[in-house]
């Protein structure tokens, strides 16, 4: 049995209370959002659970074409939200619809996904591609960082004493697409890719490309983004992308897939994701 040591369960009313409870336990308590990860964690050391879902952090707000999403918003809550459905032509919802299965999405929160940041997960890949920004609070005050910066640092250490409060998705003039390869509909990714493109006068004006589950966590291919800018979208370009990605992206083996297979498919995966993004712009 997991979490066998739990002695007390708290409902935090606000961020301050959550923080003071966390500090009182000195590392022997955890914040509980959807709990789908916590329930799988072999944390025999935990004595307290602090439920943070009643702190008013479940919301989705549109702001200047971007989204502000409260950390405890469930994935289903986002999927059912009008603003989220409209954001980037439904791109973020397209990603979330491929996350796990509906019962799990009813519980899992976006904040939990950011804090757990599983290397095999899809959400990190999409957030990196989008250039999402996160906000959190600790005893010193409020902080902000892009998800890329966050995950490059020691983020797990940060969230031992902090509450993630909000995830902000910026506005983009362009289109994004997401592709995932997995063994079954509810499976996690063997490899995933999120791409965005802006096209002006038939040429790529900006590009965002992220690949995840390599098996490492989603990260951007900035060299590819640089290469794409100024080029004309089309089959020739996608072929070039395929070859370059295959030659340059680092992939390796885990239990789910071999490095050889990932190497063989990462090029086509990135190329098809970019192509779909371009198609969404009506400019394939």
């Amino acid at each position: 049995m997991r979490l066998r040591g739990i002695k007390r369960f708290h409902y935090a009313r606000d961020v301050e209370e959550a923080l003071s409870l966390l500090s009182a336990y000195q590392g022997r308590a955890a914040l509980l959002a959807g709990g789908v990860d916590l329930a799988r964690a072999a944390r025999g050391d935990l004595e307290g659970l602090i439920d943070i879902t009643g702190m008013g952090l479940s919301y989705v707000r549109e702001e200047g074409g971007g989204l502000r999403i409260g950390a405890t918003t469930t994935l289903t809550g986002i999927l059912e939200n009008k603003a989220a459905q409209g954001y980037l032509g439904g791109f973020f919802c397209e990603v979330l619809r491929q996350v796990a299965a509906p019962p799990l999405r009813n519980m899992a929160t976006l904040g939990g996904a950011v804090v757990s940041a599983h290397p095999w997960a899809d959400i990190p890949t999409a957030l990196v591609a989008l250039g999402a920004e996160v906000r959190w609070s600790d005893e010193k005050g409020e902080h902000r960082a892009s998800v890329e910066e966050l995950w490059q640092g020691q983020f797990r250490k940060i969230f031992r004493n902090a509450v993630l409060t909000e995830i902000r998705l910026p506005a983009w003039e362009g289109a994004f697409a997401f592709e995932k390869l997995s063994r079954s509909a509810c499976d996690i990714a063997l490899l995933n890719c999120a791409c965005g493109l802006g096209i002006e006068d038939g040429k790529i004006a900006w590009a965002r490309v992220a690949v995840g589950a390599t098996p490492r966590r989603g990260r951007r291919l900035t060299w590819l983004e640089d290469f794409l800018v100024g080029n004309q979208p089309g089959e020739g370009l996608w072929r070039e992308v395929r070859d370059r990605v295959e030659a340059q992206v680092e992939v390796s083996s885990d239990r789910r897939a071999s490095g050889a297979w990932r190497k063989a498919v990462v090029g086509p995966l990135v190329a098809r994701t970019l192509k779909r993004a371009a198609e969404k712009m009506g400019d394939a």
Partner: protein, 775 residues
């Protein structure tokens, strides 16, 4: 569809009546094994081996025993040593006696070392951690090749095991069945093809894991309430394993959350019973999902090589089939699964005069294989039907045409029926019903075979293809399986039906009630079914080998006919007319001559309270002299992503001949469920092991079974035939459906992209590798 001429009109059989246990299940009323809460129940937990092969040098339980709340700890040092088999099969048991309650040696990672009974799960787990075991680690083998190699460690070197074919060489069982002259057969053939196909470790993943409650009743008899497919075998095997007289044991099977064969095995009942005996208290045991994967049973991983020789016109002339089966650490079902690889496949193509079926079931230091829906036939058909596809191509023939040319027909036989039985020789048998020809026709139409086959579709990176396969199975085990039923009439004209048969979610309680209701002229609601309680119901071997409808159903039919005779006799006295002139229908006994009638409740009342008082009742048994095969033609359409190797099954059509379906919806459900499991075999399911034999993906997060979102559009068609030996013309349907998906999907992939997938599952990785290699 074939119209069965002059079949008697039925009013209950053939109808989709409401399942007798449907309402309680839908309402979530407590019905399952663990839905009891007996005062003072202890929790039992097992200490599993961390080593693949080791001797237990010493066990120190003193710390664990000192832990407050620990009631008892059992291990090889404090229980009697009695060899037995955990396989719940008929008598004489065909599986070797190579298991012990606890042994001095462990043979796979997960093998039993000790068991604890404690006041709570937490205490039991803590106690397991406190048991100190000293092991002498032995070299281990993880494949049949390693196990068969010269100088390989001997896995079963104990002297008291019996029934092992060749323990020194790790061979649990072997078969060698020649018919005709196989070499001559091949040399006389115009075309010869060969295919070797391989299936890995896979698990049944029933939604309810193995679980058992063992306790003592008021008289001090041991009651085992358990999630099993074989209550009577549980009673016999536990009695043997614990050295108890059988009359001291009662086994009750409540509702079950799925079995698929893994519950044809005694994996917890013996331990729970031993703990209850030692402590005198109720003991509950449940496998975790991880234990269910590793310590319950799996399908036998197998490599099957099939060589076919045919004449130019497509007539098969010689078939060789060689199976290398991995039975894991113990020989549960080793011989019989191996036998079924040939016995359930080769008769399908009975035109070949020259046959050779041979193979071995080999011990390895990996989890224990056992019964799993399809039972060897699944492994056999994978290779056979892929080879048939290759043969059709070599002959330039349509695959359906090749099947039509060779498949068995009603009125025909195969020497295999006689040569291979259940762990011994079989019985000669003539197939009396076979609608496979019609199944092939209907299935081909539904999928659009001829037009899709003639032009391959390609859209961008996606390549589309269609493939097909055929299969048969049996209906029960000839001359061995026995099912019995008792029917008693109540004074209100309702009935009690007592059957040993085991409904594991299949709906057999409903089907058996339908058969009784049809004969007795009442609606199903007037039959109260009570099943699977070794104290109260007559014997039945249990739910396996596709037997319940055919074997237990016939027993019910016979019992019902006898009760009907008794009813007519009583009614004859009441109506003063001879019984021959009376008819039973609509809860009335009616005179065909005079039209006079009495109701069943009047008959019941009369017999119970009025004249010549007696209990109207009968018990009947049935041992099948034959095992009529159901037949199925499978067709599927796949899409292959040529860039990544991802395969999607887009459509699946199965046309099946199960005789007369007693309950068509339940029969369709069996077929659909089996196909979904077969798709899992084909695309995702595989247990992975470290180089030390530890299972790496013993959970449903890593081991993927198809979910409702993965299931393609499945169309099943029941093509009726009438099996003259079956109850109301019925044969079986439970297993045959799992035999088709592996070869049909492999053949469809071949049609789509021209590469043959012979190692399951067909993961993106394997498909892409094959495309790069052969494409």
């Amino acid at each position: 569809m074939e119209v069965v001429a002059e079949r008697k009109r039925t009013s209950v059989v053939g109808k989709n009546v409401r399942k007798v246990d449907g309402v309680v299940l839908v309402c979530g009323r407590p019905k399952f094994t663990l839905d009891v809460d007996l005062p003072g129940t202890l929790v039992g937990k097992i200490l599993h081996s961390p080593h693949a092969h080791a001797e237990i040098v010493s066990i120190d339980t003193s710390k664990a025993e000192a832990l407050p709340g620990v009631a008892c700890i059992l291990h090889h040092g404090n229980v009697e040593r009695i060899p037995y088999t955990t396989a719940g099969q008929g008598w004489p048991e065909p599986s070797p006696y190579d298991s012990f309650l606890f042994d001095r040696k462990v043979r796979f990672v997960g093998d039993r070392v000790a068991a604890v009974a404690a006041e709570s799960e937490e205490v039991a787990e803590e106690a397991l951690r406190l048991i100190r075991v000293e092991y002498k680690v032995l070299p281990a083998v993880f494949s049949p090749e390693e196990a068969l190699a010269d100088g390989a460690p001997v896995i079963h070197d104990e002297e008291d095991a019996t029934g092992i074919h060749d323990a020194q060489h790790n061979i649990a069982a072997a078969v060698d069945i020649p018919v005709g002259d196989i070499e001559r057969g091949f040399s006389e053939s115009d075309v010869v093809v060969e295919a070797t196909c391989e299936i890995p470790y896979s698990q049944h993943t029933p939604i309810e894991p193995h679980c058992t409650v063992a306790y003592f009743d008021e008289e001090g008899r041991l009651v085992i309430r358990t999630s099993t497919q074989v209550p009577f075998h549980v009673r016999r095997i536990v009695a043997r394993a614990l050295g108890l007289p059988m009359e001291r044991i009662r086994v009750i099977k409540p509702r079950i959350g799925g079995g698929f064969g893994t519950k044809q095995e005694i994996v917890l009942e013996d331990v729970a019973a031993a703990l209850a005996l030692r402590t005198g208290r109720p003991v509950v045991m449940v496998y975790t999902r991880e234990e269910e994967f590793v310590c319950a049973r799996t399908r036998h991983p197998m490599r099957v090589r099939v060589k076919l020789g045919a004449k130019k016109d497509g007539t098969l002339h010689a078939i060789e089939m060689e199976a290398t089966s991995n039975t894991g650490a113990y020989g549960a079902h080793a011989l019989t699964v191996l036998s079924n690889v040939g016995s359930k496949t080769l008769p399908l193509y009975n035109k070949a005069p020259h046959l050779h079926f041979h193979g071995k079931a080999v011990y390895t230091n990996l989890p224990v294989a056992g019964a799993y829906r399809g039972y060897g036939a699944t492994q056999g058909y994978f290779a056979l039907e892929v080879a048939m596809d290759e043969l059709a191509e070599r002959l330039g023939m349509d695959p359906i045409e090749l099947r039509l040319k060779n498949h068995i027909r009603a009125g025909e036989t195969s020497p295999i029926f006689e040569k291979i039985g259940e762990g011994r020789e079989g019985k000669p048998m003539v197939v009396r019903s076979c609608a496979l020809e019609e199944c092939l026709k209907v299935g081909a139409e539904r999928i659009g075979w001829y037009e899709k086959r003639s032009r391959r579709r390609r859209e961008g990176r996606w390549a589309y293809g269609v493939g097909m396969a055929c299969a048969m199975q049996g209906s029960g085990i000839t001359g061995i399986d026995m099912g019995a039923a008792t029917i008693l009439m109540n004074e209100d004209g309702s009935f009690r039906l007592l059957v040993g048969a085991t409904d594991l979610g299949t709906g057999s309680d409903t089907i058996l009630a339908q058969i009784a209701a049809e004969v007795l002229g009442v609606p199903v609601e007037r039959i109260v079914v009570y099943s699977s309680d070794t104290d109260l119901t007559p014997f039945d071997v249990g739910a396996y080998a596709s037997s319940t409808t055919y074997v237990s159903g016939t027993a019910v039919l016979k019992a019902a006919e006898e009760v009907r005779r008794q009813i007519l006799e009583v009614a004859a006295g009441m109506l003063e007319e001879p019984p021959e002139d009376l008819e039973l229908s609509g809860e009335q006994v009616v005179s065909k001559k005079t039209g006079k009638s009495v109701s069943l409740s009047e008959v019941g009342h009369q017999a119970t309270y009025v004249v010549d008082q007696h209990q109207i009742a009968a018990t009947a048994s049935f041992v099948p002299p034959e095992s009529p095969p159901p037949f199925t033609a499978f067709f599927c359409e796949v899409a292959v992503d040529t860039e990544t190797g991802v395969v999607r099954v887009q459509r699946f059509v199965a046309a099946a001949d199960c005789g007369v379906p007693i309950h068509p919806k339940l029969a369709e459900g069996q077929l659909e469920g089996a196909i979904v499991q077969g798709i899992g075999h084909a695309l995702t399911e595989e247990l992975l092991f470290s180089d030390k034999g530890r299972c790496l993906n013993a959970n449903l997060f890593d081991y993927k079974i198809p979910s409702s979102l993965d299931v393609p559009h499945i169309e099943v068609v029941l093509v009726k035939s009438e099996e003259p030996t079956g109850p109301f013309g019925a044969k079986s349907i439970a297993e045959v459906g799992i035999n088709g998906p592996l070869p049909a999907i492999s053949n469809a992939i071949y049609h789509a992209v021209g590469v043959r997938l012979k190692r399951a599952p067909f993961t993106p990785e394997r498909v892409l590798a094959a495309l790069h290699r052969d494409g």
